[in-house]
Amino acid sequence: MGERSVDQASIKMLKKAAQEGIETAWERYEKQQPQCGFGLLGICCRNCNMGPCRIDPFGDGPEEGICGATADTIAARNLLRMIAAGAAAHSDHGRDIVTTLWETAAGEAQGYQIKDEGKLRSLAAEFGIPVEGRSKEEIARDLAREAMEEFGMVKGALKFLERAPQKRREVWQKAGIVPRGIDREIVECMHRTHMGVDNDYVNLVLHGVRTGLSDGWGGSMFATEFSDILFGTPEPVRGRSNLGVLKEDQVNIIVHGHEPTLSEMIVLAARDEELLAAAREKGAAGINICGMCCTGNEILMRHGVPVAGNFLQQELAVVTGAVDAMVVDVQCVMPALTGVAGCYHTKIISTSPKARFEGAEHIPFDEHHALDTARKIVQIAVDNYPRRKKEFVRIPEEEMEYMAGFSVEAVLKALGGSLNPLLDAIKAGQIKGIAAVVGCNNPKIPHDRGHLLLTEKLIKSDVLVVQTGCAAIACAKAGLLLPEAAAQAGPGLGAVCRALGIPPVLHMGSCVDISRILVTAAAIANALGVDISDLPVAGAAPEWMSEKAVSIGAYVVGSGVFTVLGSIPPVLGGKKLTELLTEGARSVLGASFAVETDPEKAVDLILEHIAARRKALGLEG
């Protein structure tokens, strides 16, 4: 099982699954081999019913689809649709948070409150909303309305773009890719990729970047900022990670998915005295809420709630036999869960009208009855506790402490209120640069191996690593999110971490919180009076799999950050398109993608890039 994961808890559960005849994503991955070459290269098109069409990558068959679309056109259109889906997922998440704030301000939402009034007021000021002598509800109502307009076609440009350096905004203007409205760009993706619309791969990619930007500086940023207003802006917090956080003698509830609206309420409900008494009545010592994937990241950032694992551990969590309920909302939730859960006592509870799972119990969640619904869900888990099949319960002992909660505000606080200590450390070469290691898991790569290899080597080379999503959970489990991990960093970075009491790997939140990384990069660029693309920074997604990651890639590169992908994107069948993404983009955006499946080589690419940027800025090696 070592070829499947580098995480001991996961290896143990994979063995247990094999013994118990449970099929997981890895077996299903094996069954899919060999995967379709046309799909892997991105050169099959199903966008109209003259097709499906595919291009022969070896020049021994059709070079155009029925309509005349070339490999480059087809691969670019497919890429654009991936970006559209990814941006849609993030911005729909953002929209839900905006709606929740709107309803909270109107007093129509149950259990929510405006936790960070300071952030509300500063955001309102940013949007030109009057704050003097007004209640937080009044301000929140206006701010939510402003945000709602960002989704449409009223404004002409997204407000948060003004956070980016002037030089970067000029790059966008010159390329004609200033995002106008969040939903609008996504709709335009679908329009352009419809049969017989945009067939120019360059034009398609440019709009792809624009759509990505509408996610990073729009949908995701709203999700982050408004979640902070509602649930509090994260501050450094400690908690525990990996499957060992499940408790043999407690009711275990895993919240899995993405949106904090639900998980926050579940956390609240689990502290309810009545429910705790009910749990004790059933023989449980308490109620243990654990997170998974980005829902996990949202609540660990704000409450230090334990995180049971990342994307490829969702089935393995059920295999422990100790999960009484897994509560899911949207995104990255495998439909296979209900099948695995059927072999144990675990209840899979779906909650979103957007995401139903065959075999799951559906408890519709809405903001108006949020707390009641959360209580109901916790009650179901409590009632399910006695149904555990003792002979099937085996919780791996692996668990590891983490320190998370590094919002932009928390980073500034750790630095003593200004970016200067960080800038000085970068200028002096104590810290060579900053790398954002983000993204998913993917059975094409041994689980967590890409994240860990890359991160360990980067910090050893004095590169500060910032993380979100499943990458951050991987590093939490490996103990890299602790101040003590400074011992694994190079001498320069290690000294800085020890001086500030921070880990060499900063957990900045969930996948939508990559917007925090954008804000940080923009702030550093502004402080130095340069563009983001001039900074010694890089991005990496060593184990990415989702369409959301494609949208993220588009906005990170679009924001001027060189990005290395560890799993091969389905574009290589379009040779000119590939050249544009890996080379040509540099002349337009000041950044491009690299594809490198070997984490060792990926580190070298990042270090070379950082060294080149340092040299250009006139900094010591």
Partner: protein
Amino acid sequence: MKEVQIDVGKCLGCKSCEMACAVSHSLSQELFGAIFEDTPPRKRIYVQGVGAAAVPVNCRHCEEAGCVGVCPTGAMYRDERTGAVLHNRDRCIGCGFCELACPFGAITRLPGSKVVAKCDRCPDREVPACVDACPTGALLFITPEEAQRRKRLQLARQMCLP
């Protein structure tokens, strides 16, 4: 001896076999490398559409192989050990007689050359790449006896089931 058998009814026309065949005859031996090679690799199996159906066509490694018979240089020869009809590129003068002689169109030319290419049954693999890649079982690597047994079994099932 196992041969590549075809269950025509199962072919969906996905061309996975063509792709896998080309890759297994490339220098890099993997898809992402093969598409960037200076001389693109050549597939040796062809999915032929006919109406709504598709038929994978490959070399049958004939007993009385016309291609071997007409080859003036001995480039096309039979491997007595395995019974496979093979082609030695170094001896091929690109006359094209084997192409003419093949009744199935299973012999084609390498890109930019008159030298031919044909199925070699993937000598370095336990199962030929095309069979490995077929997602539906339209291509099978089994003995002719086993292929016939399966057909008889199928017939028997049809006759005896209510």
